[in-house]
């Protein structure tokens, strides 16, 4: 089991904030994907000093595996406290793995309106993509085996673990 300590994560977040100033100039709005993505988004939102409140997306109803694993027991409803129409959105998640979460998040965002653009920012970009999804702003790249999982715990302090499924 490998870990990434909080101090290291803070450094990555600072770099991501710098990259975001280049990648999404103007007045973007930020949306985090529950749960880990929201923790990362809260930090980035503060670092970038964004004025519009942070949006929180819960993609449980948009997952593509409802027919296999059923309904999530308790879903905190999504809240996008701004009009999505014509906004430049920074979409934030903790880990980009298969790409299915991002697919679900994009579908949900479009149910609220038509954004001008969506920029994807992730703390960890790991191997194992199953869909044509890529992030523009990346904290750290990791090459992991199929059985390995990245687990973020938080919100205070943030810590990252790499677990191997038995």
């Amino acid at each position: 089991m490998k870990t990434l300590p909080a101090g290291e994560i803070d450094k990555l977040l600072l770099e991501m904030a710098n990259q975001l100033r280049q990648a999404a100039p103007g007045k973007p709005v930020m949306v985090g994907i529950q749960t880990g993505g929201v923790w990362i988004a809260e930090r980035l939102h503060r670092l970038l000093e964004l004025k519009t409140p942070l949006g929180r997306l819960n993609i449980a109803f948009y997952r593509d595996d409802f027919s296999r694993i059923g309904l999530h027991p308790r879903v905190t409803p999504s809240s996008l406290p701004f009009a999505v129409e014509d906004q430049h959105i920074i979409l934030v998640d903790d880990v980009l793995h298969t790409g299915r979460t991002v697919r679900a998040a994009l579908n949900e965002i479009f149910d609220y309106g038509r954004p001008a653009s969506v920029t994807l920012a992730v703390l960890i970009e790991r191997s194992g993509r199953e869909l044509p999804v890529c992030a523009e702003v990346i904290g750290k790249r990791m090459s992991l085996k199929p059985g390995e999982h990245v687990k973020l715990s938080g919100p205070e302090p943030l810590a990252l673990e790499i677990k191997t499924a038995e």
């Binding site: 994907i33 819960n58 879903v75 409803p77």
Partner: protein
């Protein structure tokens, strides 16, 4: 009858939703929590989530109903299912087709769920015991027996306004004898664990053995609603008038109609509920129905979220929801 052998699977998950009776408290809370998750969907630009996309749901209404049918319909549509609403009261059963034949015909159209409302008690059970595996049945009201989704949306409404159930005194007023809503309500409230359940009504409209369900019986409205936190008014059905169980509408209103003066006897922050449709001036005064204690219209909106939750749960996959998936998702 052991209802749960039919409505729960071997892991205790909801397969059909037929009656509240015998369901564990944890499952009722599960339904309320899930309804909470769906509550925001109606306020979005696109009032839909794709959970039941590709599923076909048939509303089988053997008995006329507007609000129950439309809220079920809307709930199904907000889950992206395709919905058929069949008013069977006026179609093939009149031509002599049996219930089972109607069912087989709809099964041949590959429906995944039936919402059943029927004048006979036990109709939804009967259908649930005969549908193909994988097809779910939800009881939208059967005879005098049960109306479980109404009871759940009332619990949801009570929790929204009052929070902790254990402190509450709930009074149910009116025709208890003929009311499937009252029956489901009493089961739901006692499973969830409120402090006190009272039923209030004329002797002719309160079943004699109702105390066995753990309720306190009152025949006088004023003493019954004293210090109540929640007042659930029931609709007086006009057919009861014809059978001479009550003397007349105005007499009934004088004794059991909820007016401002009588409401003042309840707790200052009491809420007034009614499953609808309301008879103004019969069981409830207009000033109360439209007043600030009334949550009658909120009950309707909550009905959609609660029905979405129940539909999604019964259509949910047979597999266990992995504990890790709650936060880890599939990234």
């Amino acid at each position: 009858m052991n209802h749960n052998s039919l409505q729960l699977d071997t892991h205790g998950r909801l397969r059909h939703f037929l009656t509240i009776e015998g369901l564990p408290r944890s499952l009722l809370l599960d339904i309320l929590n899930r309804a909470e998750s769906f509550s925001g969907v109606g306020e979005r630009a696109v009032k839909k989530v794709p959970l039941l996309r590709g599923k076909t749901i048939a509303n089988l209404f053997f008995e006329p109903s507007t609000r129950t049918r439309t809220t079920f319909e809307l709930a199904a549509k907000r889950l992206s299912a395709d919905v058929l609403s069949l008013n069977i009261a006026s179609s093939s059963t009149k031509k002599g087709e049996s219930l089972l034949d109607t069912l087989r015909t709809l099964e041949a159209m590959h429906c995944d769920m039936f919402i059943v409302r029927h004048a006979d008690s036990g109709a939804a059970h009967y259908i649930a015991s005969r549908v193909a595996p994988g097809v779910s049945v939800i009881n939208g009201g059967d005879g005098r027996h049960a109306h479980p989704t109404q009871a759940m949306l009332d619990l949801y409404t009570i929790r929204k306004h009052k929070g902790d159930f254990s402190r509450l005194c709930v009074a149910i007023v009116g025709d208890i004898l003929h009311s499937r809503v009252a029956r489901s309500e009493i089961h739901a409230l006692s499973i969830i664990g409120v402090r006190e359940i009272r039923v209030i009504g004329p002797r002719t409209l309160v079943p004699r053995d109702i105390q066995t369900l753990g309720v306190h019986v009152f025949h006088d409205l004023a003493s019954g609603i004293r210090d109540a936190d929640v007042i659930i008014m029931l609709r007086l059905q006009s057919e009861r008038m014809r059978s001479a169980l009550i003397p007349g509408e105005s007499e009934y209103f004088n004794l059991y109609g909820l007016t401002e003066e009588k409401l003042a006897l309840a707790n200052a922050d009491a809420i007034v509920m009614h499953p609808g449709p309301i008879n103004r001036g019969v069981e409830i005064d207009s000033t109360v129905a439209d007043g600030n204690h009334s949550v009658i219209l909120q009950q309707v909106s909550h009905g959609i979220a609660v029905r979405m939750a129940i539909m999604a749960m019964t259509m949910s996959a047979p597999g266990d929801y992995p504990a890790e998936a709650a936060d880890e998702v599939n990234n």
